[in-house]
Each structure stands twice: as structure tokens, then as C-alpha cells.
């Protein structure tokens, strides 16, 4: 009896259930043979690599042959591709979907999302662009922000986003960046070039000629692990030689830094402790010694520089402040004993000295001054343009200093609208607002639309931005003072982000589109970065995971909404573009060497298909080169880019701007807040430095589970502090601590280390922001330093970020610690 009833159930069930049962997720397929896997070539900011792909999965990653010093972060690549934080489907914020731009924006941050099909998501994106251009205008759309994207010249996501949006309408752009904001604005006035991104004197010449090398706030051994292009770490060979020279005593390397850096420990060199943010005072003391002991090169100054007299009058106390900048005066500020300052000045003047400046000291309030003062010191030493002498601002970045091959590199997917074509909305009326804003002031711009600020000798009027589009860039990592950002974000009607992992920017957006990583698409790039050592084929390792797509694909589809997808991709598909960039590069490299045999080009590159099969083309090593040698040899004909063509120790042009925070020559100015006796150091005695991370590229790779496990403390970002500070606050190594100041609070894991002096703590930037909730002041559960940093322009000249001007206090965290939400997707908010 029961059997029949059961069969009856099956019958009844089949009837009604049929409509409730979907078509199923499986199809029939022949049993695939398990292939043993194939080795492919790929590349990333962490290094060029070979990857074994087996059964449609990346099974193994090993460094590229030419990379002799691979970084251990390469082990995080698999963690990055398959990381749980991947954005898997197009998602839209529920509140925004329901009420669009009139919805409750204060919930933006940890809100609830709903999945969309790609068509629905792109339609929404297009509708919003249309609404902004028609209801408002180009002043309301900000799509200028760019970041470190991923390597690859075809799929450079910033280019794709900006080209597609530009084909639709004009928008607010940005100038400057977070890495060298102050340096790239001041140095053109002083040395006639941005300097920070220029090729430097070749390492072999430094190793041969320099007697003293000064690392000023510079940690190359840590920062050279990553590069703008597919890195092959050629600088490390030279660092190894430098280490040997230090050991045998033929070169003295001195690290001027409050902290014992990774480079100093690797080289085993000396350290000169200096109070944070007091570099200018220290250098003024040195200048005073050089001048008054006649150790400076007057002849060099007469032939190559202008404006030295005004500056030296300031050092001698003849300027309006009337203070003589003696080493004793400097000691009170920078904490370096006066005798040590004199000794150091004499050492630099004694023999060939190479000054290597890091970028951290210009990322503070008045960040222009230390860079300007560095150039003035180098001018007084008179060794600019000599091999192994002078000053460089970039030897810690993307293998600057490795001789470049001189070959031509491949271009990229176009970022602008094609010549002769106009956007759908050709309205260029910014209604009095400036169309380009200094990038570090974008939050000021959101909070005070219409306000006018001074910037680099001109005036910038903030546009009233209503919509932002971010592609492959994580402004919630870049920018300072997250609580202030939350207020600013409440004013935005729509935020669209295209990325591959759920970082803070995605969670503060309304529309999130999943891009695939660089390992899920074909591309081409150079390897060796500044050494431009060769061209690398970035083979597609696996298909895009889940519903993610390449930026090329996404924005072609977006342009289909207004019928211009053919024009967008110029009729080429992905491989078409890879081949086009390769062929153009090959053509540019066919520089005719007028040898009798005709087409014998200096950089012969094989035909595309052969290149793609082999995976790379090697241009060979470059020749040694000395920066500023041509200027030293003929200052008139090879004039610098300064207004006068000479080194400008004091700049009349800047003097003419009449800024109180950036005068006509480098000056010492007290900061808004400064540890070691500076303002506010009574309430918050510890200086927080947010340097570039050791185990990440900024915020990239923080989502890689395995790699983060190697440094996280109780699942939180580690905060390094000195034994004395820890003991004072009863903190043991490995404790959970709360770090706070007037601007915000966060949790971090304490790491007590004697590399750090009292009063100095370090939280590496790039830690993912994970607030408990979207409320202002909410506790950041993972430990992103930008929860505490100060959002203030360096000065009216550069208006650059001042992240390293930041004082905090630390205390042991009591009670039950909330779970880490940095990597969690959006958690529920009470509806």
C-alpha cells in the first residue's frame, strides 16, 4: 500500500514541483582526459613569472628565468586569483536600486547588495552617466582617479574606463598623485624636472665612484620588490654588490632615518637617528656648517645656480626671522647632537657622495621643503652631474638606476577619444569650476563645492561632484582620514567601481562590476620597468572566474549602449590589440642602423606569433649613464627646465606667489602636529608612519589569505613599536591594541621591535579598511592607518597628501574584540 502512495506522491509532486524546479546546472559532456598541464608566461607588479596551468587551474607559479632575486610575494599570486574576496557578479546596493540617487546615502559603506545580470548593470551605469550629463554637466562627474591597476598595456583598466566615459561625455580629471605629490611639483622649480620618475645615475657608476652613499628616509631593499611594469628585480644585484662594498669598507652607507630599516639591516650599514619630520632643520644645520667652514663649492654655484645669496642670508640669520641656523639650533629640533651634524656635513663634503632620497619625507606637511633643501645641499656639495655624486629621488622605485636598454616600449590601449571624434555629450561648460583638481584634495572638493583654493601659482575652484567612477583604483586606500571621507561620500549620488576584489572602495560604492585579474586575459608588457629589459607575453592562464570579465570586454559592452562599441575598440579584439601593440613596438625598434646590410636594427624583434610562443623578447642590458652630466658639461645648451635654465636655490617665481607655507627658498616650518616635543605631542606622543608595505603592493595582495597569515597578528595588521613605548603602556608582543587620535580609532596587533626608537610607531599603508559600521568614528577592525591620518594639503604650492604628519596614542584593547570585517563583504545593516 505504501509503495503506491509514494509513487502517487511522485506523480503529484512531479505535477506541481515541475514548475518549481529549474532546468538544472549540468549538461552532458564527454569525459575529458586529464591533461598534465602546460607552462605559460605571465607577469605582475611583483615580478614576471612562469605558471603551470593544469585542468583549467593555476597549479604552480615560479619566477621568470631572468628574475634572479624574486620576491616571496610571488607565492601570493594563487591566493590572489582564487581569493575569497573576489567580486563574482555585478552587484548593486539595494537602497540605491530601490530609490536610486534619492536613497538613504548614510547607509553607504556596509550596505546590502543585490546581484544583477551584466546587461542590467551596464544599463544602470549608462543611465546614470546620461542622467549626470543631462541633469547636471561634466562638472558633476569625477572619473579622473587612477591607481596601480595591474600590469599589461592592453588591459590597462584606467585607459579603458576613461576612454569609454570620455566617449560618453567630459568629466573632472585630476593632476598629481599620492606617491610623490609634493616632490613632482617643487622639483621642476629647483632642478628643472619632476625628477621623481626619471631614470637615475646607473648603479655601477655609484658603486665605482661613490665613497659615501646616504639613504635619506629610503628603504630600497623593501620597495624594489614591486615595480610599475613586470618587475625582474635587477637592482638587487647592485644592492648585493653595495653590501659587499660596505663589508670591505670601501663605501660608507649611512641611513638617515628614525627607524632601523630593512635595507640597513641587509647592508649592515650605519644609521643616523633623526626626530620625525625634522629633516629640513637638520639639513639647515649642515648647510650652516658647510658655508661657515668653507666646505661648499662656490665655483659650482656661480656657474650652475642662481639665488644662493638669499638662501644663505636666511641660514646666517639675516632674514626676517633673525635666527642663525647653527647645528645647536638644529639639535633642539631634530634631536641630532650638534657635533654629529658638523661631522656629517664634513663627511659629505670630504669625498664623492651620492644622496638617495626616499618618497616618505615629502609625504608630510610642507613636504616640498625637505626635497628642495636636499637639492640645495647637493648644489652646495657641487657634485651634481658627476658619476656617483649629486642627488637622486627614485633609486628605490621600479629599478631606477639599472641602465636602460634604450629600446622602444609598447604603447597601450588609447585613453582618449579618437582624433576628430566628439563624445555623445560634448558639453565642456564646467560652470566656472576647474576641470582638473589636485588629486589629494578630492575630499575637500566633495565637502566644499564652489570653494576656491590656491594651487601651484593658480586658483582651483572645486566643482560640485555628484558621481564618481573608479576602475582598478582603491581611493579608500589612498586617501587620509576615513571618517572625513565617510561624510564626503554621503554627498555623492552615485559611485561605480570596477575591481576584482571587495576592497573598501567597492563596499562604499553603489554599483560594483567584477573585473577579472590580469591572469585571466591575454596581454603584453615590458619587463624590468626602468631598465626596459624586454617585452613579455602575458598569456591568459585561466578563464575569467565566475561572472567576471576583462575591462576591455566590459567597456566595449558599455559603449554598445550608445552604439559606439566598434569605434571604442577600433574594430580589434583582445588578441588584435596585443598584436597591434607588439607590431608598433617592433616597428619603432626597427631604428635603421645605416649599416651597409640595410635593415640591421639595433633591437630586432621576432615576428609576433614566434614571440607569443617563446613568451618574451630580450633587448639586452643598457649602457651606464650619469644624471645631469649633460647639464654639468654644457649648462647653456643642455639647460634645465627651470625658468632660468639653471639650478634655482631660491625661486623668484614661487616667491612671487606669496604663499605663507612655501616661501622663495627652503625654510623650516613647524608642523600642525609633531611628536618629540612638537605641537599636540603631549596628548598624542607617538608619530605614526604609514610607509609602503613589505608584503604587499600598497593595498594589492592584502586579500591573499596565505600571504596575510604570514604577518597578521591575531588576524590584524601589525603595528610596530619600541620596547620602551610598549613597556610604558603594558603592552606585550602579540597583544591586541587600540590606536587612536582625534580623527579615528583602529585595532591592530602589537609587534614590539627594537628597530623602532621611542615615540615612533609604524602601520604599513595598504591594510584594508574594515569599520564595524558606516557610522562616523566606527572602530576599524583590521588596522588601516588612513583611519588616523591627517587630510591636509602639504602647502598651497603642491596641495599634496600629508599622510606622514600624524600623531597617535596606543592602549591595550580590553574586552571582546569584534571580528575582522575588512575582508568581509557587506554585512547587514538594520533595515
Amino acid at each position: 500500500m505504501t509503495i503506491s502512495r509514494r509513487s502517487f506522491l511522485k506523480g503529484a509532486m512531479a505535477g506541481s514541483a515541475a514548475s518549481l524546479i529549474g532546468p538544472g546546472l549540468l549538461t552532458t559532456a564527454a569525459a575529458g582526459v586529464t591533461e598534465q598541464g602546460v607552462w605559460k608566461t605571465a607577469g605582475s607588479h611583483w615580478g614576471a613569472m612562469n605558471a603551470l596551468v593544469k585542468g583549467g587551474k593555476v597549479a604552480e607559479v615560479k619566477p621568470f628565468g631572468a628574475d634572479q632575486y624574486p620576491t616571496e610575494m610571488l607565492n601570493g599570486i594563487k591566493g590572489l586569483i582564487y581569493n575569497p574576496s573576489r567580486v563574482r557578479y555585478p552587484m548593486v546596493r539595494l537602497e540605491w536600486l530601490k530609490n536610486r540617487h534619492n536613497g538613504d546615502r548614510t547607509t553607504r559603506g556596509d550596505n546590502r547588495f543585490v546581484r544583477l545580470t551584466w546587461d542590467a548593470a551596464l544599463d544602470l551605469f549608462h543611465e546614470e552617466l546620461e542622467r549626470i550629463q543631462t541633469d547636471y554637466g561634466p562638472w558633476a562627474l569625477y572619473a579622473g582617479a587612477t591607481g596601480w591597476r595591474q600590469t599589461g598595456q592592453v588591459h590597462s583598466c584606467g585607459n579603458h574606463m576613461q576612454r569609454a566615459v570620455a566617449m560618453h561625455g567630459h568629466f573632472v580629471k585630476k593632476v598629481g598623485d599620492y606617491s610623490t605629490g609634493a616632490g613632482q611639483v617643487i622639483l621642476p622649480y629647483v632642478l628643472g624636472s619632476t625628477e621623481v620618475y626619471s631614470q637615475g645615475t646607473s648603479w655601477p657608476l655609484i658603486l665605482e665612484n661613490s665613497k659615501t652613499v646616504v639613504l635619506w628616509g629610503n628603504d630600497p631593499y623593501k620597495n624594489l620588490q614591486v615595480g610599475w611594469n613586470c618587475e625582474t628585480h635587477e637592482s638587487y644585484a647592485y644592492l648585493e654588490q653595495l653590501k659587499a662594498k660596505v663589508a670591505e669598507g670601501s663605501i660608507r652607507v649611512i641611513s638617515v632615518d628614525p627607524v632601523r630599516t630593512k635595507t640597513q639591516k641587509y647592508l649592515g650599514c650605519e644609521q643616523l637617528y633623526i626626530n620625525p619630520m625634522t629633516d629640513v632643520a637638520f639639513m639647515l644645520g649642515m648647510a650652516h656648517t658647510l658655508y661657515n667652514e668653507g666646505l661648499y663649492d662656490q665655483e659650482f654655484i656661480d656657474a650652475y645656480a642662481l639665488g644662493f645669496d638669499d638662501f644663505i642670508a636666511y641660514v646666517q640669520g639675516e632674514a626676517e626671522d633673525g635666527e642663525v641656523k647653527t647645528p645647536e639650533w638644529a639639535e633642539a629640533i631634530c634631536g641630532v647632537p650638534a657635533e654629529r651634524i658638523r661631522e656629517f656635513a664634513r663627511l659629505l663634503a670630504a669625498d664623492r657622495t651620492q644622496l638617495l632620497f626616499g618618497w616618505a619625507i615629502q609625504r608630510q606637511q610642507h613636504g616640498e621643503q625637505p626635497y628642495w633643501m636636499g637639492a640645495v645641499l647637493a648644489t652646495m656639495l657641487g657634485q651634481i652631474g658627476l658619476p656617483g655624486g649629486g642627488i637622486s629621488y627614485g633609486h628605490h622605485y621600479s629599478s631606477i638606476g639599472v641602465p636602460s636598454s634604450g629600446a622602444s616600449a609598447p604603447g597601450a590601449f588609447p585613453r582618449n577619444v579618437d582624433a576628430g571624434k566628439t563624445p555623445e555629450h560634448d558639453n565642456t561648460d564646467f560652470q566656472g569650476a576647474t576641470s582638473t583638481i589636485p588629486v589629494a584634495r578630492w575630499i575637500d572638493c566633495l565637502l566644499n563645492p564652489g570653494q576656491t583654493i590656491q594651487y601651484n601659482g593658480a586658483e582651483v575652484t572645486f566643482p560640485d561632484i555628484r558621481m564618481c567612477v573608479f576602475s582598478g583604483c582603491n581611493p579608500w586606500h589612498h586617501h587620509q582620514d576615513h571618517n572625513r571621507m565617510k561624510k564626503a561620500f554621503h554627498k555623492l549620488e552615485t559611485v561605480v567601481t570596477i575591481d576584482y576584489a571587495w576592497n573598501a572602495t567597492c563596499r562604499f560604492s553603489d554599483l560594483v562590476l567584477p573585473a577579472c585579474t590580469q591572469f585571466e586575459r591575454n596581454d603584453i608588457d615590458i619587463y624590468g620597468s626602468y631598465s626596459n629589459r624586454g617585452v613579455l607575453a602575458m598569456h591568459k592562464l585561466v578563464d575569467p572566474l565566475f561572472h567576471s570579465r576583462s575591462d576591455f570586454d566590459i567597456f566595449t559592452d558599455l559603449c554598445r549602449r550608445f552604439g559606439r562599441d566598434e569605434e571604442y575598440r577600433q574594430g580589434l579584439d583582445e588578441m588584435g590589440w596585443v598584436k597591434k601593440l607588439y607590431d608598433e613596438c617592433r616597428e619603432a625598434n626597427k631604428s635603421f642602423v645605416p649599416a651597409p646590410t640595410g635593415d640591421q636594427s639595433t633591437f630586432s624583434m621576432p615576428e609576433f606569433t614566434q614571440f607569443w610562443k617563446e613568451g618574451y623578447v630580450d633587448f639586452g642590458p643598457g649602457e651606464n649613464w650619469v644624471r645631469h652630466a649633460d647639464f654639468r658639461q654644457a649648462p647653456e645648451v643642455n639647460a634645465l627646465g627651470t625658468p632660468s635654465g639653471f639650478i634655482e636655490v631660491s625661486s623668484r617665481k614661487i616667491d612671487r606667489y606669496g604663499y605663507d607655507d612655501c616661501r622663495g627658498y627652503p625654510t623650516w616650518m613647524e608642523k600642525a602636529e609633531r611628536s618629540h616635543g612638537g605641537p599636540n605631542s603631549d596628548r598624542y606622543p607617538l608619530w605614526l608612519q604609514s610607509v609602503h608595505p613589505d608584503k604587499r603592493l600598497h593595498s594589492q595582495m592584502c586579500e591573499s589569505e596565505e600571504l596575510r597569515a604570514t604577518y597578521a597578528v591575531q588576524g590584524r595588521e601589525p603595528i610596530y613599536l619600541s620596547p620602551q613605548d610598549a613597556e610604558q603602556r603594558g603592552i606585550q608582543d602579540g597583544d591586541l591594541v587600540r590606536v587612536y587620535n582625534d580623527r579615528g580609532q583602529l585595532l591592530a596587533g602589537a609587534v614590539v621591535s627594537d628597530d623602532f626608537p621611542p615615540g615612533v610607531v609604524r602601520l604599513q599603508e595598504g591594510a584594508w579598511y574594515g569599520p564595524v559600521g558606516p557610522e562616523i568614528g566606527a572602530l576599524d577592525t583590521y588596522g588601516d592607518p588612513n583611519t588616523l591620518t591627517l587630510d591636509l594639503g602639504t602647502s598651497k604650492l603642491a596641495q599634496a597628501p600629508s599622510a606622514n604628519t600624524c600623531v597617535v596614542e596606543i592602549e591595550r584593547f580590553e574586552g571582546e574584540a569584534p571580528a575582522v570585517t575588512a575582508f568581509g563583504g557587506p554585512t547587514l545593516v538594520e533595515i
Binding site: A17, L20, L26, G55, Y82, S85, R86, L94, R115
Partner: protein, 230 residues
Amino acid sequence: MRESLASSAAADSQTGGGAPLDGASEGLLCRWLSTLLGAELDEPTLARYRQGEAAPLLGYLCEAHGLDEQAGRIEAALSRLVMFTTPRLELAADFAELFLADARSGAPPYASLYLDERQGFLGAPAERMEARLAEAGFAVKREVGEPADHLAVMLDYLGHRLERLAETEGAEALALRRELATFLEHELCSWLPRLVARSAEVRTASDLYPALLALTEAYCRRLAERLRLA
């Protein structure tokens, strides 16, 4: 119609549920669960659920497997949907919150995230599942865009295999029965409890999906026992 089913189920459970397994019905049940866990509900399907069209399925679960508590929880959740102005959207948001958003919060339905020590996608469980699918002559549809160790995919596979079981008897059926039991124990019941626990932590608007996960976990356990028994 519902009362009569409940009573017979009660009768049946007293006898220790020794009745032989009906592969076809179980297969349908698995493919129903796979559909619910595979994608959000659209407007018409939700309307049918709210009109009680799932009753026979729920009834069969109570009567054949004694899962009255879990089935009741689903029905309660369905009835409470009336509170929402836009129930479909709220359910879609719950679905996203649990399964689609960042896989570190919520309750991502992928075996690799729980069984593989690397805690990433496409771990060893995914590879095992892919091999198992290939062996049975199946593959995940391209447009689905999910790895093989997604819960919905595994349930769909189970559905097909159970229907296959219904068409076999004797030694072959016994072997298949044992194979499915091991599959359920190793590849599903090993992580479903943790999935259910994580889904409980997430404050969703409606209890439907957490209830559904609890039901699925209980059903798999019961199914594994039944397969071992007979």
C-alpha cells in the same frame, strides 16, 4: 490534501522509515533544492511559492523523512514575506548577502572554502567534484559560471544520480547506493553544518534562506543514513 500526507508520514516514521528509497522522488527533491540555492527567485516563482505550491514537496519531506521542523520553518518564513513591501528584492538581497558577496562574511556555498586548507576557491574539493562530474558524463554549463563544488551543482548531480538509482536494481543498485552514501558523507555532510552555522550569524531580512540551508543539511544527513540502511 496536506493532512492526509502528514498522518501517513507519522505512521511511516514510527516504522523507523524502513520503507525503500524512491530514487525518482529524492532526485526531484535534490534538483528542487539545487534550483532554490542556484539563483534568486524571480517574481512569478515567488508568487507560486507564496500560494503554497511547494506544499507537496514539503509534505513529502515531512512524511518520507520526518523533517517536519525544518519544513515548518520554511513555511513560516514564506508566510512572513507579507511584511515586506518588496519581498523579491529583500530575498534577493538575503541571497546575495549569504551566497554572493565577499566570501569571508556571509555563508558562501563552496566546499573548497571549508574543506581546503588554503580557504580559496577551486581547491581540492572542486577538483574532486569535477572529476566526479566528468566520470558521470556531466559538466557545469558555461553560462552558470560556477565551479563544480558549488552546493547547487552538487545537489543537481546528486539528483541525476538518484534518478539513475531508481532505474537500477540488484547488485548495481547496491553499489550505486553505497557510492552515493559515501559521496554524501564525504563531500556534503562534512561541511554543510559549518555552512549552516555561518548562515545563522548573518542577520538576513527573511529566515527563508537560512531555513533552506538547515533543511538541506538535515536532508542530506537523513538521505545518507537511508542509503546506508537499505
